[in-house]
């Protein structure tokens, strides 16, 4: 049964893909080889794994009969920037994409958000003959949506090649993550081989990350120029309608390859970002689920007494970024002084209402890849005396003035900034909060035209490399502060090709420790993301981010 296992054995596989953030666990691969059975069904209805710290509260007793049909209504913060899921990595697009498309590999779908196992999805099996070669054999008979021009034809290896060639082409927002691909070869209808230039540890996880891996339809792109007019390929739902500013709708794909899924007939996402409107909508059954910070949750619990809550650790870090090119922030002692002046625990208690944790460069949502929180806590212990000493050593005993760019509408960041402002006043540092709208603030950060900032837009990916290379390599696209360190540079290059997972883990921790020491940014505490779920909703398994299609398993018990 365990196709991949019998061919390679777990040891060899782990060695080959040792660099992945989440090795393809043997358990998840059991039952995936044949392609007849729905993948991972053995796990789907299982209760949350015991001991999982933040398991979703929606685990269903096995005895319960699943009720099919109905319309699941979920909110979404804004319009998808584009309906072509390969042209944007915004969550508002990915939310749509993961319902309409499939991926070759995918994060396993179950009730445990901490389970970051990768399983073959469109692929029936994955082989890794050497560190630079990946061979995928597709599941037989997976059908495209039954609408023109595909008309229910079978998904082939050519579709996979086309999709990934498009993803790595110039102009693709994710081209960078596929730089190491030398060629993609179609062997036969069901077999495709990815040949890389070198070993590339992040490969399996970027192929499993929806933002970077949807398999689209070549003939649609060829006819229309992109996927915006006729979105959808082989995913669990078929595109129905989109009204900008209001909602989009998708209907159940009756030919979906995972038998018995999806369970609802229709999913509607309504576009609404106003917190009070969403509170009202949730309580009046207009939406089934809503993202809920602790404050929103408290209001919701007053209105819907038996709601369920799902909680997952954050996969995005929050940072207070320093522009290391300009004095006095170019002086590491000054940056350390600022970090020492801040009471991180208060940020966590007051702004995040004690839900969440301190975070280092890699957020807790990435599990073992994140530094232990005790280590972060030690690095960020508040010490005003030391802060003053450091400032004095840098010749700034009288303090100095600086500003923090905060994007408007980002209430969490602006509250962080307000508390930071108070803390810094105690060591004589005067801070001005500069509220800028997102386009302006982002421009100033990209241009290096800032002193400090609390920007959004850190990656939500589950691949550790995207949290390190983009931010701390001298040429990283999110290295707004101009940080550069030869040692970090070298380690980043090493971890990228390190196929031994243990060694890679060690390297990434070293990078993080070095970053904490040189402090190009001060990491702010991150809240765990929470969803409030209406009592009638079963098996809603929110993911750490948009990385798995939980709408597939959800059903409505009323």
């Amino acid at each position: 049964m365990s196709g991949l296992r019998s061919r390679f054995g777990r040891r060899r596989f782990i060695r080959a893909t040792g660099g992945t953030a989440m090795a393809l666990g043997a358990a998840a691969l059991v039952g995936c080889g044949g392609g007849e059975e729905p993948a991972a069904t053995g796990r789907k209805d299982a209760p949350a794994a015991p001991g999982a710290p933040a398991a979703a509260a929606t685990a269903t007793p096995q005895a319960r009969a699943i009720r099919r049909g109905g319309e699941l209504v979920l909110p979404q913060a804004g319009n998808p920037p584009t309906l072509d899921v390969q042209l944007s990595t915004a969550a508002n697009t990915t939310n749509l994409g993961r319902m309409l498309y499939d991926q070759v590999l995918a994060y396993v779908l179950n009730a445990d958000p901490a389970d970051l196992t990768i399983e073959p999805s469109l692929a029936a099996s994955a082989e890794v003959p050497d560190a630079a070669t990946y061979r995928f054999v597709l599941r037989p008979g997976v059908k495209m949506h039954n609408r023109p021009p595909m008309n229910g034809r079978v998904v082939t290896a050519r579709d996979v090649k086309f999709s990934f060639d498009r993803l790595r082409a110039k102009g693709s927002p994710v081209a960078g993550v596929y730089d190491p691909i030398a060629s993609i070869d179609v062997v036969d209808e069901r077999t495709v081989i990815f040949r890389l230039n070198t070993g590339y540890a992040p490969f399996p996880s970027v192929v499993a990350e929806p933002q970077t891996s949807f398999v689209v339809v070549p003939e649609v792109v060829e006819q229309d120029g992109d996927m915006t007019k006729r979105p959808g390929a082989s995913g669990p739902f078929v595109f129905d309608a989109y009204e900008a500013g209001v909602r989009y709708r998708v209907n159940r794909n009756p030919n979906y390859f995972r038998e018995g899924y999806p369970r609802v007939d229709r999913v509607t996402r309504i576009i609404q970002n106003d917190a009070s409107a969403l509170i009202a909508a949730f309580a009046s059954k207009q939406v089934h689920v809503t993202g809920a910070d602790p404050v929103v949750l408290e209001q919701l619990q007053r209105l819907v007494s038996n709601l369920k809550v799902a909680e997952q650790p954050s996969a995005t870090s929050s940072a207070w970024v320093f522009n290391t090119r300009v004095a006095p922030l170019s002086d590491v002692r000054v940056r350390r002084a600022l970090a020492k002046a801040i009471d991180q625990q208060r940020l966590l208690d007051v702004v995040l209402k004690k839900t969440g944790s301190l975070s280092g460069p890699v957020p807790p949502g990435l599990g073992k890849w994140a530094l232990p929180s005790a280590e972060v806590r030690a690095a960020y212990s508040q010490d005003l005396a030391q802060a003053k000493q450091l400032l004095a050593a840098a010749g700034l005993s009288g303090g100095f003035s600086t500003s923090i760019i905060v994007y408007s509408g980002q209430t969490t960041y602006s509250q962080h900034a307000e508390l930071v402002q108070q803390d810094l006043a105690a060591v004589g540092v005067r801070v001005k909060i500069d509220l800028q709208d997102q386009a302006l603030g982002r421009k100033n950060l990209i241009d290096g035209n800032f002193e400090t900032g609390m920007p959004t837009g850190k990656t939500t990916a589950l691949e550790v490399d995207l949290h390190l290379r983009d931010n701390y390599a001298a040429k990283g696209s999110r290295n707004w502060g101009g940080f550069s360190d030869a040692q970090v540079e070298q380690w980043i290059a090493q971890q990228l090709v390190e196929t031994n997972e243990g060694k890679r883990l060690e390297l990434t921790k070293q990078i993080q420790r070095r970053v904490l020491e040189l402090m190009p940014e001060v990491f702010l505490p991150v809240s765990s993301s929470r969803s409030a779920i209406r009592p009638e909703v079963e098996d809603y398994w929110p993911s750490v981010n948009s990385d798995r299609a939980s709408e597939v398993a959800t059903w409505l018990n009323a």
């Binding site: 509170i279 404050v295 900034a417 307000e418 402002q421 509220l435 800028q436 386009a439």
Partner: protein
């Protein structure tokens, strides 16, 4: 020119306050409004004397009203009374500046526009028309995005946004005044345009200007809060009522309602008082009503 207009306004106001039929003598809603408004402005003025700094961190987060903090504390543990009082300072400052600007610009534009009636200076009128036609909110959002959100930018843009309304009202009133015989008489007597405009027309359109100004103080406060709601308001930490109402406070509606209800009441009360006061002023100001 302006001093002349200001003089007319001053005369009007003092007559309104102390004259035979004045608000102070007649009492009623207008008096209540005027007194409350004065108290609020006084409190704003002496804020440092009556309360701690608005960002002073107390020991309690989200303390209920009563007890140590008689209006409670907010989500970051700051005293709500002090936030309210300091918030009024910024709010009044921004609204006051905005109305001053808006009424001055609007009055001049309206007078010119109504007086010359599309005749002599078509070019000036096209520009004025364009400004009037330009959607105010877009203007405000764009200007705030371009020049960053601070007290001056917001006051200026809100003032600018208010001016077309004033201009239209003044223009309408000017048109009506122009049809009176005494204007024709003045023209026949050979009075200069400027003289007719400011000595004959302006006094007759003062009442609508004052009515408009009082409404606009409220509108200024309301626009400021709407801009905050849309994410184009003043940055923290200096509180404004609009920011307190539209910011995180609105989400605490069911659990800690005072966070948003207090600034909501303050805004409502301010606008209410300004309007009632202005209404009464209008009743007594218009010389023809006596």
């Amino acid at each position: 020119m302006l001093s002349r207009a200001a003089h007319q306004m001053r005369v009007g106001w003092s007559v309104g306050l102390t004259g035979r039929h004045a608000v102070l003598r007649r009492g009623g809603l207008g008096l209540v409004g005027g007194v409350l408004l004065t108290v609020m402005i006084l409190m704003a003025a002496v804020a440092p004397l009556i309360t701690v700094a608005p960002n002073f961190q107390t020991a309690q987060i989200l303390a209920s009203p009563g007890g140590d903090h008689w209006l409670g504390t907010d989500h970051l543990g700051r005293d709500m009374f002090s936030r309210m009082v300091w918030g009024s300072r910024t709010t009044f400052l921004v609204a006051g500046l905005a109305v001053t600007l808006g009424v001055s610009v609007g009055t001049i534009a309206g007078l010119l526009s109504g007086y010359y009636r599309g005749g002599t200076d078509a070019v000036v009128q096209r520009v004025v028309d364009a400004l009037i036609a330009f959607p105010g909110l877009v203007l405000a959002m764009a200007a705030i995005a371009a020049f960053s959100a601070n007290k001056l930018t917001i006051s200026l843009t809100v003032g600018f946004v208010l001016s077309p309304g004033v201009a239209r009202i003044v223009r309408g009133a000017t048109l009506a005044t122009m049809s009176h015989d005494f204007i024709e008489a003045a023209v026949a007597l050979g009075a200069s345009n400027r003289r007719i405009m400011f000595q004959h027309v302006l006094p007759n359109v003062t009442a609508p200007i004052i009515v408009a100004s009082t409404v606009l103080i409220g509108v200024g406060v309301l626009i400021e809060s709407s801009l905050s709601f849309l994410g184009f308001g003043l940055p923290p930490p200096d509180p404004t009522w609009g920011q307190m109402l539209s910011g995180p406070g609105r989400v605490y509606m069911l659990s800690q309602p005072w966070l948003a209800v207090l600034p909501g009441i303050a805004i409502t009360l301010t606008v209410l008082c300004a309007n009632l006061f202005g209404d009464s002023l209008r009743d007594v100001l218009d010389p023809r009503l006596r």
